[in-house]
Symmetry: C2
Subunit: 488 residues, 2 copies
Amino acid sequence: MPVPLKTIIAVIIRSWKSAIWRAADTDETASETTMGIVRPRTMPGVQEFLPEDQVVFQRMLDTIRQSYERFGFLPVETPVMEFLEVLLTKSGGETEKQVYFAQSTGSRNQGKEPELGLRFDLTVPLARYVAEHQNKLRFPFRRYQMQRVYRGERVQRGRYREFYQCDIDIIDRDTLSLEFDAEIPVVLDHTFRSLDVGEFTIHLNNRNLLRGLLDAFGVSDERQQTLVLREIDKLDKKGQEAVVESLGGSEIGLAKDVAEGLLQRIQGEGSSAQVLETVANGVSSELLEKGLQELSDVVSAIHDHGVSENRIRVNPSIARGLDYYTGTVYETTLNDHPGLGSVCSGGRYENLAAQYTDSLLPGVGISIGASRLFTGLRESGWGGQRATTVQVLVTQMSEELRPQARRVASLVREAGLNAEVFPRVAKIAKQMKYADKSGIPLVVIVGDDEAAQGTAVLKNMVSGNQESVPVDQLSALARDWLIAKQGE
Amino acid sequence: MPVPLKTIIAVIIRSWKSAIWRAADTDETASETTMGIVRPRTMPGVQEFLPEDQVVFQRMLDTIRQSYERFGFLPVETPVMEFLEVLLTKSGGETEKQVYFAQSTGSRNQGKEPELGLRFDLTVPLARYVAEHQNKLRFPFRRYQMQRVYRGERVQRGRYREFYQCDIDIIDRDTLSLEFDAEIPVVLDHTFRSLDVGEFTIHLNNRNLLRGLLDAFGVSDERQQTLVLREIDKLDKKGQEAVVESLGGSEIGLAKDVAEGLLQRIQGEGSSAQVLETVANGVSSELLEKGLQELSDVVSAIHDHGVSENRIRVNPSIARGLDYYTGTVYETTLNDHPGLGSVCSGGRYENLAAQYTDSLLPGVGISIGASRLFTGLRESGWGGQRATTVQVLVTQMSEELRPQARRVASLVREAGLNAEVFPRVAKIAKQMKYADKSGIPLVVIVGDDEAAQGTAVLKNMVSGNQESVPVDQLSALARDWLIAKQGE
């Protein structure tokens, strides 16, 4: 689009004015004005949305939060910065190598080393929080936390340096009932149904089942078992053949028939009972029995809660890479978006906060990676186009009618609807176009006739219908039309 | 309270078990286990709430957000880290000296200097955002932003290193109508009414009025005027006498009678008209006339919007310390909490983003300091005691009745209420006590008789009433009782 001459002239005049102003002011604000224009930009690897996407993202976070609260989870927020000593108690992890250090100007000027880092997940802050406040919390402690986390990742598709996690965990003291292993998928079922993302599958497994199966195969070294589990976790990405090869390689050293037998057993098809039968067919170990029993109990309790059978899948090939899971593990996939992989994962751990307290704090929880989920869904059009929070646009027909427009907007707002007065007097067509482009569903018109009669015209931008009503009935009609629209 | 012997023994056994586990695992996780217990704690100067406070704080943020959306403001969130080059374009400010630097492990290992800093307000990110995305935004651009900001302050009461700001701004291109100066207080009026904080006063002034008054007194040097305004801004804290002295000191150099006349004129009492008359009584300047006119127009428009007269106060002694305000300025005080000072301040600025773009972007906006406001209100008991998000506790009477309890909880949730199943089978008195202590208003009891009859007993923990109803009518009754409770 060619730039109109008027605009070019305006820009020249503006720069010239600005230059004069700057010259006149040089003494006072030298450092400010000599720096010139800095290109406005953000660091790579972060999500920053335009308002029409932010509206949808915010609605998504609200839905998740509402769903977590539906099950009585309590909100927690923790500071973005933690002491490095607290944050990095477990060395050697990949995530710990990606930490962002933080330091105040004062500390830096004194030549100190950074003492602070940004949280890289919500689990470490939870452990610190529960250990710190344990005497003031009620157990079992059910908390949700929805905040951004930070990782100095290499920038690549689907990997962010700043992203939202939406976590729930249930922590108890000393022992934690299997009840809660069953409740987590019930919360997820409610959450993903509320998000309206189409059909989804919650995959369930139990690490005792996998370790017990290895015991049954005579592979009972704990370190070797851990390596096997990590390899199984890559089955989706690497495929059967590559995993069999790794399992038989020098590091892990499984016999080929053991590796193949293992993979065959954990990839059974059919009902939950059939899948479990395939796993344990003709083999046995103490831990395997424990895993089978726990998993069956959990699945049975989930069904008691009323979760639809076809959304729950016992999947013994789910291993979860993280070593601290000790029992039930979860993954969730969206049937219409297989490419997204698991959008919500987690499991049970025997001790949340050994690094901060002697208290034994077993827990179970999951995390929804909201940023990645949003991007994946949004690419397929999820959430619709909604450029606005406004439900009712009040038009401005003339300077004289402005007080009337303001009063009508106030009435609509007091009735609980979001209203905006068009920013200036303009042709009605222009104001209608603004509503249309912004996605505002309703427009109110108060012209001279309406002002004289104490009425207003309400126009439905979707159906094109319009109706003239007394001003005091306007909000009720607007609400009816908005409800009708939602119902479509 | 003495520690029971049982607990002491449990701790000893646990430590011993834990020591064995650690010894067995030493090879694999040496660095993890040799570090021992790290004391769980956060940096000083940050707010971290227990759940019963976080529930109330979250409700406060929701109310503010809902109120901003009521006026059609669009949500924006920006990354916590900005490039230092972008963040620190204005050098010399106090806030800039308090910036937190951030750096990834990778960048640090390469011996680089930090390139990133944490945002210290929401205005700089807004300026960067609007400049960066200006071709994709619709103007006038109405945005709200509610995020945490970071300042390396010395730790003292009421000063935080991490705190929430809740901002609204309206930005236009080239010119911005005075309409919007009038709309901001209307939004504040709605917001503070919604927050239910008692009576409040929105103070309005116009910097042109103050500068114009100085012109009329023959004090027309812009730098001198700025120093005078900064001094007037301290009137509340330092008092009349100290300010007169500073104004007459060597740096500013006003004659004593000018200083006194100035302070007398800007502290008039009475109606808006009377206050403005006191300011301009017998003196005149071009800028003073402009200031008077703008302020009158804004006040008149605010009243058109239906804002109660007694909440709006023309207060010519409001100067705002920040130099970039160029017209209307706002402060808000809570009548019952004078010690909190202004809990929401802002004003009009002629150009938002000169450091990032040649576009002229005038705007007007305010910021609610939510963290400080919350602390101040909470100390006086605001928000009540609510340790829970749960509305309905479903009791567990026996193992056999557990499936029934789960189904009832699911029913209640599907009807849109927040429900928790008591975590285990226990005496009814204990379960009641849990509900009472947690602030859960309703309890559902399904015993053997009820299960046989398909009924449930709903107990109101506030009134003590209880009623037996068929299970399918339970949610409706619960909802009625909750609405009745809100109405109290």
